[in-house]
């Protein structure tokens, strides 16, 4: 049996000792007891892996203790199993009981049902219904915000978006102005200066950028502002309208572009090799991904099965009169038509919030067939993933940030030869980092977040002729944000 401690981080609490060490001891001690008492099958125990995690998100998709079984490519059970324990959620008083239950469930013949209501069968993360919930959230953001009493940015773990930090925006403005100045010096400044922001939110960052750019341009005695074309890219027409309204004073410089973040080039192909600066904040961390796992040299794909616990089903029945039998139809209505398709007014939003609140995921690991390539993001080949695996630790679970990779690959062709792409987001910069902490998915208030595999984007960039760099976001102490940016490969 192998115990993985996946939380490699020094406590910032100084002398105040956390409970983590005690909990970890309790886990290992209890496991030995379970084996000795015959509660953990001696045939299963040697190939069992125990993962001690610490999930930083207050709400998440996991129970305190979960079991991950493995299957072959056809779904037949294999002997390898994992028990994953979230030390943040665990309580010493209940841990032993939870481990006993887990010990029963690792047996391939055991039932894991526990009266759960399943919303779908096992699927890779990329095809999971979480993305339907995510889409409903962005389509009905106003309803959610009204019900929660706070804007989505306030609901972020940091309490605000790093997109709008004035000092960060100012530095971006100066950096961009210097590029334009250099181009002008070399007589290479284009007649039009296109900038693209993908995922515009309320338009706050765009407004701050253009205001500061106009001011800086005037201060420097240049006239670049006159040539500026600021393309606002977002898939939601409502969001675009809201952002455009907030930018009325720069109206003649604004180009709204309804686009799919996965393929900006499809909408903006007329800007091929013309855009001088592309910016995204917290877009990549909200795009589909998969999880790959390497154990004993074999590769597995994580598959998840969404469920509502028996207790939560009862609670939904009590609060909304929607019982187990009606739950599938109500969920489908919500995901197709939004909260008001289930109940009119606030009750529909309340049901949505309650359902999301109790939404959880079971996991299993399916061994990958050698010839299977469905998890390889568009634009990449198996050889690229092999490069990543070559630089990864032997035992690792990591994200294939397929949405981010696809978006990135389909944005690069827009860049002017001197143009650059800048992304503020949460990144895993090298594969070894995946062994040091939990990188998502985390459940947010209404949506989800997952750290972006920066090493993967580095591979995508290299193939397209770009070096990809990361620097810390220095404008808010303690920020988890990293700034990723591109430079042209020599």
């Amino acid at each position: 049996m192998i115990v993985h401690i996946n939380h490699i981080s020094q406590s910032k609490k100084g002398a105040k000792k956390s409970q983590l060490g005690e909990l970890a001891s309790l886990v290992t001690g209890s496991l030995v007891d379970l084996v000795e008492n015959g509660q953990l099958d001696a045939k299963v125990a040697p190939s069992l892996r125990i993962h001690l995690d610490w999930i930083q998100y207050k709400t998440n998709f996991r129970d305190p203790v979960i079991v991950r079984r493995t299957t072959d490519a056809q779904g037949k059970s294999l002997s390898l199993a994992e028990v994953a324990i979230d030390l943040r959620q665990c309580q010493p008083a209940t841990l032993l009981q939870q481990l006993q239950e887990a010990a029963q469930q690792v047996n391939p013949n055991a039932s894991t049902d526990n009266g759960r209501h399943y919303l779908a069968d096992y699927k890779p993360f990329r095809d999971c219904v979480i993305w339907d919930f995510n889409r409903v959230f962005w389509r009905h953001l106003g309803d959610w915000e009204a019900a929660s009493g706070k804007g989505f940015e306030e609901a972020l773990p940091s309490g605000s978006s790093d997109a709008n930090r004035p000092d960060a925006v100012k530095e971006s403005v100066v950096e961009f102005w210097e590029l334009l100045k250099d181009l002008e010096t070399k007589n290479q400044l284009p007649a039009e200066i296109p900038i693209l922001e993908i995922g515009v939110g309320a338009g706050t960052r765009a407004a701050a950028f253009i205001d500061l750019f106009q001011e800086y341009d005037a201060e420097k005695g240049t006239t670049y502002y006159d040539r500026l074309q600021f393309i606002l890219g977002d898939y939601s027409p409502d969001t675009l309208a809201r952002a455009c309204a907030s930018l009325g004073r720069h109206k003649s410089h604004i180009i709204p572009a309804p686009l799919d973040a996965l393929n900006p080039f499809k909408t903006l192909s007329q800007y091929r090799f013309k855009v001088l600066y592309v910016h995204l904040t917290n877009v990549y961390d909200n795009l589909p991904f998969d999880d790959l796992i390497r154990r004993d040299g074999k590769l597995y794909l994580a598959e998840v099965r969404p469920y509502i616990s028996a207790a939560s089903v009862d609670q939904l029945q009590a609060d909304f009169g929607i019982g187990r039998a009606e739950l599938p139809a109500a969920t489908a209505k919500l995901l197709d038509g939004g909260p008001h398709a289930v109940f009119p007014g606030e009750k529909g939003v309340a049901f949505w919030r309650a359902l999301w609140g109790c939404f959880k995921l079971e996991e299993r690991l399916r061994a990958l067939d050698d010839r299977e390539e469905s998890h390889v993001p568009p634009g990449l080949t198996w050889a690229h993933l092999q490069d990543l695996l070559d630089e990864a630790p032997e035992d690792v679970r990591f994200h294939i940030s397929r949405g981010a990779a696809e978006s990135f690959a389909n944005t690069l062709p827009l860049l002017h030869p001197r143009g650059y792409l800048q992304v503020q987001d949460i990144f895993v910069e090298d594969m070894d980092e995946y062994r040091k902490g939990f990188k998502g998915p985390g459940k947010l208030d209404g949506s989800l977040v997952v750290w972006v595999n920066g090493a993967l984007l580095r591979a995508v960039g290299a193939r397209a002729g770009y070096d990809v760099h990361f620097r810390p976001f220095a404008y808010r102490p303690g920020s988890k944000t990293t700034v990723m940016y591109t430079t042209q490969k020599p």
Binding site: N187, Q188, P190, R272, F273, T381, A383, L412, P413, L415, H416, P417, R418, A462, R463, A464, G465, Q488, K489, P490
Partner: protein
């Protein structure tokens, strides 16, 4: 074989298969022998020649598929350039290179390409080499007093090779200088280096100047205005320029400066996988004919096809040939 009016050609490179990219990387990682890689190279070069012939291209190359990229193929061969062979893992990256002494006078071995072409095709043939300005920008100079002096010596090194290839019967020689567009201020000495390369070369010589095609994207932007009038001093027969992607406005420069060169007209955008129609190609040729007479026009893509999938490259070349034939027939040729 006598060339028709509006002869068609390629710039040099042909579609690089992904499997060959992996093989080149494997060779660098010592997972594949040189003999096996050479076998693969020979096979794809023959296939590239066949594809060009099938598409109807008049002047063919070997597709340059044995080259890592447009720099390393030459820096590895030029006597006196130190190459750090451990400095890259991906074949398409550039080696770290340095010149610490005056360049030597040995052969670059490019004549093998002429022999290969003559062995496998009856068509008129073409060999492209990277120009001295481009090479200067990629080799760290620790010997020459400045880039201009270094470039002239590189031009001389290329000159010996170009002469030998001409003697061995290559129809067309081309010198590629994509870095001009990024360093227009270098043009006066860069042209002197070209002239050092072409002096006494008994073949039709084309100077190809584009805006870069590394990884299938441009490295620079701007207008060809920077070339004139300095480029008129270049001792070459033809200029091959990129117009399909950038628009044809700069063709007027040929008229404005009474440029005596043949024009290699870029009619295929190699930075997109969209396939041009023959009608579009024909339109582009007709517009160029308003400025340059047919006797001084050669029809080619904007740049090499190396980054295009093979089926796309083949379809584009086929469209180019069909479009050219449409115009030839209008000219009664």
């Amino acid at each position: 074989m006598k060339l028709p009016i509006l002869p068609t050609t390629v710039i040099g490179s042909y579609s690089m298969p992904e499997w060959l990219e992996r093989a080149k990387n494997d060779y660098l990682a010592r997972k594949l022998s040189k003999r096996d890689l050479d076998d693969m190279h020979d096979a794809v070069r023959k296939a590239a020649i066949k594809d060009q012939e099938s598409a109807g291209i008049d002047i063919v190359t070997d597709g340059e598929l044995q080259r890592y990229n447009m720099i390393d193929y030459f820096t590895e061969r030029i006597p006196g350039v130190q190459v750090d062979l451990g400095s890259k893992r991906f074949y398409y990256d550039f080696y770290d290179t340095e010149v610490r002494n005056k360049l030597g006078t040995g052969s670059l071995g490019l004549n093998d390409e002429v022999k290969f072409l003559k062995k496998y095709t009856d068509h008129p043939t073409k060999i492209s080499v990277s120009g001295p300005h481009t090479l200067v920008k990629r080799i760290r100079n620790s010997f020459y007093k400045d880039e201009a002096e270094f470039a002239v010596d590189l031009g001389k090194a290329l000159n010996r090779e170009l002469k030998e290839m001409a003697r061995n019967g290559v129809t067309e020689l081309q010198i590629d200088e994509p870095y001009y567009s990024g360093f227009p201020e270098d043009l006066p000495w860069a042209v002197k280096a070209i002239n050092a390369a072409t002096e006494g070369v008994d073949a039709h010589v084309t100077l190809h100047i584009c805006y870069g095609n590394r990884y299938g994207k441009p490295s620079f932007e701007g207008s060809y205005k920077y070339l004139f009038p300095t480029i008129l001093d270049a001792k070459v027969h033809a200029l091959s320029l990129e117009f399909a992607r950038r628009g044809e406005e700069d063709i007027q420069l040929f008229k404005e400066f009474k440029a005596p060169f043949t024009l290699g007209l870029g009619v295929i955008d190699v930075k997109t996988q969209d396939i041009e129609s023959p009608a579009l190609v024909a339109d582009r040729i007709r517009r160029a004919l308003e400025v340059v007479p047919a006797e001084r026009l050669v029809i080619n893509p904007d740049c090499g096809c190396v980054h295009l999938p093979r089926d796309v490259a083949f379809a584009k070349l086929t469209a180019m040939v069909e479009g050219t034939r449409m115009v030839r027939s209008e000219l009664g040729k």
